[in-house]
Subunit: 326 residues, 2 copies
């Protein structure tokens, strides 16, 4: 039996840093969760990553030399080939940050950067709800919309490691400006942020809704979860806003079905936990916007909440990249 | 040196049937072109395919037993796994036609069905402008918009062989109904048919334009080529309609760049021959709708007119499928 190998995998989100020591066989030897000090700037976040990596290594009791490298899954728009995060909507001040280099400097390890949704797609394929599937699309719906495309059992990375940015398909001509620089992007219409924006607009337009009360009268505190809570207690505005968001969600899913003809679409991210209220009308709309035979062969699965797919996928990616090295 | 092998490759279009005997090494031994008797119904078209296949085999002087099978590239929406063409906008009456079985019955050969744009993508990779590229998107812009996705040097076929239908991404919510059953599809806004429709609408709205005169006063005769001719002689309406079409074209190209991060996009089909008037503003718009780093690594190439990529790609596909057989 070959000697086992180990990497540290880190999933860097806007609110949370999750780290683990993971073996080549997928065993988690140690984990660490800490909040992301996003407001304290880039250096504080890099230090938190390095501290978290050190914590899991210590807990694993492995000697430092036994750790082959670090797989770093990061939210936002990044170029894995250059190791740069251009822009991360959830990490204020992150613009053109050479994160790979910075984490390498802080840890002394090789660092392999991967988009968080790409990592989650790999994690779902190896350890999650996509086990056994070799052609599927992973879509995460939360603050924004991210994606990971698996074809023939391999992550589709693209020419600069940037493939899978399905949240930035244009779904509305001359649509809302997006933080990515484009406009009319899918995530501006079908993400949790979009749902919350619709709710704030409804409140500002004077619509009678329980949402504002649930937000303690402060429109700024309205988020997707509150809209769902309102809908759950029978608020018709909340229900309508979810249905509107679902329509755009389904439209984009239909496009992905026509482009990829996948056997499976995995829906992850916070909004996936809204369940049928969001997903049923979304799937109905997806059917309206895709070929019958393509729709008929696609299964939809919701990622398990707290599945750790991002961390595990970052580990898979790091092992893949290490194997490519001479 | 291994014995060479041969297939007959057929590209079935709405107006033309192109056939060839092609060797495994990509040599064309014989070719045949004939018009598609589309108006005479399905059986007449099947017979024309069989006649064309027989003609190239006779011309090649190969014994019938030397032909391993037939690769059939067909326009329209098809399910290669079942060998069925659901719908071909250019072939009236083609709905749920078991074309693989019908051509096999008429020729006594195994038939392998592939979407025509998928075939062209393979042809461009092996013999055309995409030679050497292993990750690219082929987009054909003519009556409709078709696509073929090559990742890691392989055609992305999807779960039922239907992948690559990029023309049916939704780009306009509640948009124009599409013959595919959906609405707001990209090809309803960025194809040659869309350009001609815009011109007819402009004429009907009483706009002063040279287009109607070029069409001999008959609005029904307006097509994309006439709009281009009008723009070329300085007609401002023609120029505006092309710019409008280019905008939608670029929007969809931007989405594809964000989804695939390709190193190359090959533009084929009749409208690709419009050149800069259409493509320059389209590429400008694609840049507005895609990530800078993804846009910066993508090259655009126009397919060679009359490149035969569809026929050659159908041959490649047939050889691939034959190799998969026991």
């Amino acid at each position: 039996m070959a000697k086992d190998r180990f990497v540290i995998a880190v999933d860097l989100g806007g609110t949370k840093i999750s780290s683990a020591v993971v073996s080549l066989r997928g065993k988690v030897l140690a984990s660490d969760y800490r909040s992301t000090p996003a407001r304290r700037g880039v250096r504080a976040v890099i230090k938190a990553i390095a501290d978290s990596a050190r914590a899991v290594r210590d807990e694993s009791r492995l000697p430092d030399g036994a750790i082959d490298g670090i797989g770093l899954a990061a939210a936002g728009i990044s170029n894995p080939d250059t190791g740069t995060v251009f822009l991360s909507p959830n990490l204020p001040g992150w613009r053109n940050i050479p994160v790979t280099q910075m984490v390498a400097d802080a840890t002394g390890k090789h660092v392999f950067l991967i988009n968080d949704a790409n990592a989650a797609a790999l994690g779902e394929m190896y350890y999650g709800v996509a086990k056994g599937h070799r052609d599927f699309v992973y879509v995460t719906i939360s603050t924004g919309i991210g994606g990971g495309i698996i074809l023939g059992g391999k992550l589709c990375t693209g020419a600069a490691g940037m493939a899978g940015e399905v949240g930035h398909m244009t779904v509305v001509p001359d649509g809302l400006p997006c933080h990515c620089g484009g406009s009319g992007c899918w995530e501006m219409y079908a993400s949790g942020t979009a749902l919350a924006r619709r709710a704030r607009e409804a409140v500002q337009a004077g619509e009678k809704t329980a949402i504002l009360r649930l937000a303690g009268g402060d429109a700024k505190k309205i988020d997707a979860v509150l809209v769902k809570e309102a809908a759950d207690v029978g608020d018709p505005v909340g229900a309508r806003l979810i249905a509107e968001t679902a329509r755009y969600l389904g439209m984009g899913l239909g496009s992905l079905i026509n482009i990829f003809n996948p056997s499976l679409i995995v829906i992850g991210g916070g909004l996936s936990q809204m369940g049928d209220a969001l997903l049923k009308p979304a799937f109905f709309e997806a059917r309206r916007h895709s070929y019958r035979d393509a729709f008929n062969v696609v299964a939809f699965r919701v990622a398990e909440p707290g599945s750790n797919a991002g961390v595990l996928g970052a580990a898979v990616y790091a092992f893949e990249q290490l194997n490519k090295r001479p």
